[in-house]
Amino acid sequence: MFESCADPKSIEGLSWLLCYLTTGKHLDFYWSFVTVLTLLAITAPVALAFGFAGAMAARSHFLPLSLIGKGYTAMVRGVPDIVFFLFFVIALDQGIEWLNHQVQCPDWTEPIRKGLEFRVCPEAKVPLNSAPQSVHKAYGFALAVVTFALVFGAFAANVLYGAMLAVPRAQLETAEAYGMSHRQVFRRILVPQMWVYALPGLSNLWMILIKATPLLFLLGVQDVVYWARELGGAKTSAYEYPHPDWRLWYFLFLLVFYLAFTKLSEKVLNRVSARLSKGQATAAGEALRKAGA
């Protein structure tokens, strides 16, 4: 990156470290933090939407819909999330290819699952074998995002379902007494009021989501853990920057990153919680009122 780094064998000390930390691979490492943040930025709203849909379905009076919703919310209960991660990544991939296969090659006669193979016609491959490497990477990342959103959507559905039940019944009855329809009560009364009850659960969920991001590594994405292992491993003198096994330091750096991130999130979420409690008929709202008076 810098001109002085042209011959790394000849420099020492701090300038060596500076050159070492700005190699192309290290820049990839720094970019992988952006990957993690991107994952969080996309997953959080999508999972919230999934959760909202799941909670609404679970509340439905239409039996099949409510069964689907309840099944979805119950999904993460009792089974480790890592099992879902490993499962969904392959299952989604195969499901998409299978569907594509039905559309693209209707007269393909060979069975798709033959022995130990899963073989669809070449046109139905997602992404196509001829696609550039970047497309394959993007597809892998997209699969990981959908997987995260599905699993965390189920968590969020749990939280939101509970929050909807926690809104005082009297509030809804008052709205009904004013002649609002079910839909109006839901939109104007229930949803605005449920957030304060949902917030503790959702902030917990956000923390868990942050702490689940290193699992991207297991889904085959080149994330922070991948690069920490790659860069930290011992490098012989055949490399430009030889060094012994430094993985410990790289992982220590990741640990500090995550600690700082969760601490910051906690601070922000506490503020949001105080903001939402304003004027609410809860203990926290009462405490705020007294403090202000």
């Binding site: 099992v83 499962f87 392959i90 299952a91 193979e117 659960g201 702490k211 290193p214 640990l255």
Partner: protein, 276 residues
């Protein structure tokens, strides 16, 4: 073609190193998958039970330290809890593995006795240690919260009876803390068992392919390209394990609440929060 009974004989204790050495390589049967994955569950149970038992004691100590007035006790406990609750378990596993590998291979000399270090990088010891510290931190936070929500009246009553010091703690505070914390602690236990599935995906190698349930499920999914059989099998096993945990903790909960009128006991709800 071997019968299912033969498969069970060959693989039921495979995860511990007994029985058939070679894992099946082709013609995977449902029986093989059930047996091997079930065999792997032994490791999940081992990690979960031991970490939970040992973690319980450390958690109590940490919760008390965090509630202490002296900053010499409080600060270290707060930092310990912050570090383990604020960072991903996955990273903790990696970090611990790398740190344990830095120990001198030949062993450490303590007063002329050589202490072996090689065993610490094995999953049965290293991963167990990380899980133990991790669950202790989470449980300590739960216990600390419970300690702070002991009803004021209980403590005043103890004062009025002249119960002070150690006997106040052991007869009034600790049982009440445990009673209040139990539902949340049940969740923590469930979560801990779930976390054990991470062990063999996080640096700790599975020696001679002796892994946990998810390790074998992943093996089958890789070999057969079919995730729809092994993963649901793991899920079944874990649901069973979770039910057993809920049942056991429910028994303890009933014992802790036995002095209360039956409608007042804080029942463990059948819908445990799944979030820790």
């Amino acid at each position: 073609m071997t019968t299912c009974w033969e498969t069970i004989n060959a693989y039921a204790l495979r995860s511990l190193g007994y029985g058939e050495r070679l894992l099946p390589r082709s013609d995977f049967t449902l029986c093989q998958q059930f047996t091997l994955i079930g065999s792997g569950m032994l490791w999940n149970i081992y990690f979960g039970v031991l970490a939970l038992l040992a973690g319980f004691f450390l958690a109590n100590a940490l919760a008390l330290a965090k509630a202490a007035h002296s900053p010499w006790l409080r600060k270290p406990a707060e930092w310990f809890i912050f570090v383990f609750r604020g960072s991903p378990l996955f990273i903790q596993f990696f970090l611990a593995y790398e740190a344990l590998q830095m120990l001198p291979k030949a062993g450490i000399d303590v007063f002329g006795i050589t202490v072996q270090t090689a065993w610490t990088t094995k999953a049965w010891a290293g991963a167990l240690f990380v899980l133990f510290l991790n669950t202790a931190a989470y449980s300590a936070e739960i216990f600390h919260g419970a300690l702070r929500s002991i009803p004021k009246g209980d403590l005043e009553a103890a004062d009025a009876y002249g119960i002070t010091g150690w006997s106040r703690f052991i007869r009034i505070e600790w049982p009440t803390m445990l009673r209040l914390a139990w539902p949340a602690y049940t969740n923590e236990a469930i979560f801990l068992f779930h976390s054990t599935a991470l062990v063999f995906f996080s640096g700790f190698p599975a020696f001679q392919q002796r892994g946990d349930a998810l390790y074998y499920a992943n093996y089958f999914a890789d070999k057969t390209f079919n995730p729809f059989i092994p993963y649901p099998i793991v899920a079944c096993y874990f649901i069973l394990l979770t039910l057993v945990v809920i049942w056991l903790f429910g028994r303890v909960n009933r014992h802790l609440n036995r002095h209360l009128p039956s409608n007042m006991g804080s029942k463990i709800r059948l819908r445990p929060q799944l979030i820790r």
